[in-house]
Point group: C3
Chain length 143, copies 3
C-alpha cells in the first residue's frame, strides 16, 4: 500500500506510418520510455489506438505466432469488397472488424516504477490499414 499526496499524468503520442497495409509492431520499448519520463512509481498506463482500423494487444513477440494471428484475423474478419461501409468510398471494412476483434487498447500496470508485465508479455500495435499516418496515445497515470 502506497499513499501519496500527488497524482500525476503524463501523455505521449506515437505516430506510425507503416510501409505495409498490415503490420504488427512491438511498442513495449516506447511504453517503457514513456513510463521513465513520467517518473510514476505506482499506477496504470493506457495504450490506445486513436484510429478505428488499428488495435493494441499484449501477447508474445514470436514471429510464427504473429503470422498465425494475421491468418486467423483474415479468416474471422476477411477483406471483402461487398461491405456496406465501402459505399462511402473506403475499402477498409475488414480493418474496422479486425480492430473490434482484438480491441484497440490495453492497460499496463506500473509497480515500483516498472512495467508490471509477465515474462512473455509484450505490447503490440496492430496496423490493419497502414501506409498513412496513424496515432497511438500512451497515458501514464499514478503517483
Amino acid at each position: 500500500m502506497i499513499a501519496s499526496p500527488h497524482m500525476r499524468a503524463h501523455t505521449e503520442y506515437l505516430t506510425f506510418r507503416t510501409p505495409e497495409l498490415r503490420q504488427f509492431i512491438n511498442i513495449t520499448p516506447k511504453v517503457q520510455a514513456a513510463l521513465q519520463k513520467s517518473r510514476i512509481e505506482e499506477g496504470m498506463i493506457l495504450v490506445s489506438a486513436m484510429h478505428i482500423t488499428a488495435g493494441v494487444w499484449v501477447n508474445d513477440a514470436e514471429d510464427g505466432l504473429l503470422a498465425d494471428i494475421e491468418e486467423w484475423l483474415e479468416h474471422l474478419a476477411p477483406f471483402n469488397e461487398s461491405y456496406r461501409h465501402h459505399r462511402t468510398g473506403e475499402t477498409n471494412g475488414d480493418a474496422h472488424l479486425k480492430s473490434l476483434l482484438v480491441h484497440h487498447q490495453v492497460i499496463v500496470p506500473v509497480t515500483v516504477g516498472k512495467l508490471d508485465l509477465g515474462p512473455w508479455q509484450q505490447v503490440y500495435y496492430a496496423e490493419f490499414d497502414g501506409q498513412r499516418p496513424k496515432r497511438v496515445i500512451i497515458k501514464v497515470m499514478g503517483e
Copy 2:
C-alpha cells in the same frame, strides 16, 4: 506532466431500454457530458456495460459499418436455440457471446479537460438483448 494534490472521481449511470433487441447507440455526447460535470482535466473515463449481454466499443459512426458489424457478429456468434445456457429458460446465449467478442468496456483518456479521442473515434453502446432496462457506468477518474 501535471501534478495536483487532488485525485477525484465522478460516477454516472446511464439506463437504456432500446425498442429493438439489438441496437447500437453513439454515447459519446453522454461521456462528454459526464466529463464536463466532473471538471477533471487529466485522467481516464471508464465506460462499462453493467450487464452481460451488451458491449461498449470505440469505432466509426457510419451506418453502413454498423450494419456490417451487426451482420459480422451474427455470423461469428449466431443466435442458436441449442445453447446450453437456454436450459435456464433464457434465449439470449448469443448475446453473451457477442458481448465477450466486442468487450464490455473501454477507457477514454482525458487530456487538458477534453476527451482525447482520434478524429473518427466514437463511443458506442451495443445492446444485444434489449427491450428492457440496461445500465452503463461512466466513471471519470483524475485530477
Copy 3:
C-alpha cells in the same frame, strides 16, 4: 464527486495451477478481498492475466453458458497442430488466439468502497493452457 489528497495503489498477485488444460474460474471473491485490503473507496481495479495464453472476462456464473463459451472459443480459435508458432516446440497456439479473442484484462469500477458491478457480472479467469503456474495481477487504484 469526491476529492481527497491521497491517491493509493494496492497490488496483489494470484497464482493458478489448474488441473485441467482449460478451466474457467470465478475470481470475484478474490477481487473483492483485494479491494477490502486496499481500503480504497473510489477508483478502479485492474484485473489482468500476466500470461499470454489466458484471459480475464466479466460475464455470468452459469455452468451452461461456460460450456457454451468453451465450445464457441474452440470453434473460432481451434486447436490445430499446424500453427507456425508450434515450430518453437509449443503446442498452445490456440491458447494465444483464444486469449486475444476474449481479452486478457478487465477494469472493475469501485464506488463507495464496493465493486460496482451489475447484478449478474462476475469476474472470470480463463485458463487456456493450464497445468502449470500462471499469474494474475489485481491492482486497485484510487483514494
